[in-house]
């Protein structure tokens, strides 16, 4: 990695983080969306502690999935509209790596808050200490996978009518494996079973996503900018 590339990656990441801090209402909206969706479930299904403990992992995970999907709208759209994205493509640095830097910044801004909030929401469902810990860990490994896969959908739907709902349609089916293993880890922890395997599979998905998704994202970005 040359010094120039390192500099470019750091600049992209830093710029996006700075933007996220300046436009923090965007981030707060997503975090509160996550909290509200999770809190609606007990109101819908009843406050039976046994039922809630069984539902908790799945509910928090599905809500995190929806929240991270909702956050995709702000990943490329503004940069696409004001021409920054075009500059990025023309920058001469490898686009997959630049895309990876953007997704990383996006995850730090919108995914990490979900991870940090999740134990608190797990308490609403009566998860025990081990369950809360595994919930946060599984989300810490899983939400970057969601961001990476989601970025492909966000890039494909850039400037397309019906963008948000369309992105959901493209991306949600691809989230299924992460959901299964992420929520599965928390369920296993709740039943005092081994959950290391789930987390390992989730980790494998993360590495695969880091290796493959940037190529698809950059291909999609180039198509959008043609």
């Amino acid at each position: 990695m040359t010094a120039g590339l390192r500099q470019a990656l750091a600049a992209v990441t830093w710029r996006d983080l700075l933007l996220a801090v300046r436009l923090r209402t965007d981030v707060l909206t997503i975090v509160f969306f996550f909290a509200i969706v999770v809190s609606l479930f007990p109101l819908g299904v009843g406050a039976d502690p046994v039922l809630l403990r069984a539902l908790g992992p799945g509910v928090v995970w599905v809500a995190a999935l929806l929240a991270s999907m909702l956050a995709l709208g702000r990943l490329f759209a503004d940069d696409f509209a004001d021409g920054t994205l075009e500059q990025l493509v023309l920058a001469g640095e490898p686009l997959p790596l630049l895309a990876l830097a953007k997704v990383f910044a996006h995850w730090l801004a919108t995914g990490l808050p979900l991870v940090l909030l999740s134990p608190l929401l797990g308490l609403e469902f009566g998860l025990d200490a081990a369950g809360l810990w595994v919930l946060a860990t599984s989300l810490a490994i899983g939400t970057p996978v969601l961001s990476l896969i989601g970025a492909i959908g966000a890039a494909l739907t850039l400037g397309v009518r019906g963008g948000g709902a369309l992105t959901a349609l493209l991306v949600l089916p691809l989230y299924v494996p992460a959901l299964i293993f992420g929520a599965g880890a928390v369920v296993a922890a709740g039943q005092n079973m081994q959950f290391g395997g789930h987390l390992s599979v989730l980790g494998a998905m993360l590495f695969a996503a880091i290796a493959l998704a940037p190529w698809a994202i950059s291909a999609a970005l180039r198509i959008a900018l043609e």
């Binding site: 896969i149 492909i152 494909l156 739907t157 397309v160 009518r161 019906g162 369309l166 349609l169 493209l170 949600l172 089916p173 691809l174 299924v176 494996p177 299964i180 293993f181 599965g184 998905m205 493959l212 698809a216 291909a219 999609a220 198509i223 959008a224 043609e226």
Partner: protein, 242 residues
């Protein structure tokens, strides 16, 4: 003299060729379906466990096979179109998607009707049915993306990327659903137990699979001709032949 296969990559040459191929595949589909249904309903014995309801297998399994196979073929043509920039390949991918989605729907519908008497409910979160449901969503997403982009060339390329991403994910989705299913509940009756099937059952099923295959080719060729007509309507060659 070397045969130039790229010649057939041109919509202009392919259009009449497809027109000649459609009747062939239609006849093949009808023949396979007639023989397959005859064997399925009049030769294959009654299943000792499930009774006559098992006869749904002759459309359920072929539809499920085709739904997965068509996705692979669709992704293949989409990938070819993306790599070599051949317009016909992308059109072929678009022509296959609705048929694939339909096959997925048939597999789900017949699976549900089979599940009711066998499992006692219309829907079971069985690994196969769940994967088919997700596959249906993948097809719908592909078609929705292609339809949402007005610029044809961008629609081709963007949907091709999605199809390729989908094809990488399909095995991952399939195995995670399988794993999830074995953990949560084991469906006691397995719908398709190949090893214990009578030979005539298997023959009927394979013939019906061939019929579905030929049908899919015929109807996709018909659709690709419609797509060529829509896209090339200003081209002189089409106005001569139409």
């Amino acid at each position: 003299m070397a045969l130039n296969i790229w010649k057939y990559a041109s919509p202009q040459t392919f259009f009449p060729l497809a027109g000649r191929m459609i009747p062939v595949f239609t006849v093949l589909a009808i023949v396979f379906a007639v023989v397959g249904l005859y064997i399925g309903f009049f030769v294959a014995p009654t299943d000792f466990q499930q009774g006559e309801v098992y006869r749904i297998i002759f459309i359920h399994v072929p539809a499920a096979w085709m739904s997965m196979f068509i996705y692979l073929v669709m992704a293949f043509w989409a990938g070819v179109g993306l790599t070599f920039n051949t317009r016909l390949s992308s059109m072929m991918a678009h022509a296959l998607a609705p048929t694939g989605a339909l096959m997925t729907f048939i597999a789900l519908w017949t699976g549900s009707l089979w599940g009711k008497p066998t499992w006692g409910t219309w829907w079971v979160w069985d690994a196969r049915l769940t994967s088919e449901l997700i596959l249906l969503f993948l097809y719908v997403g592909y078609m929705a993306l292609a339809a949402a982009i007005d610029d044809v060339r961008r629609a081709d390329k963007a949907s091709a990327v999605l199809a390729l991403v989908g094809v990488v994910n399909v095995p991952i989705i399939y195995f995670s659903v399988q794993w999830w299913n074995t953990l949560h509940q084991g469906a006691s009756v397995n719908l398709t137990r190949a090893p214990s099937m009578a030979a005539s059952m298997l023959t009927g099923m394979l013939l019906m699979a061939l019929a579905f295959w030929m049908y899919s080719i015929a109807v996709s060729l018909l659709r690709v001709r419609a797509i060529i007509r829509e896209r090339e309507r200003d081209a002189a060659w089409l106005q001569d032949s139409a």
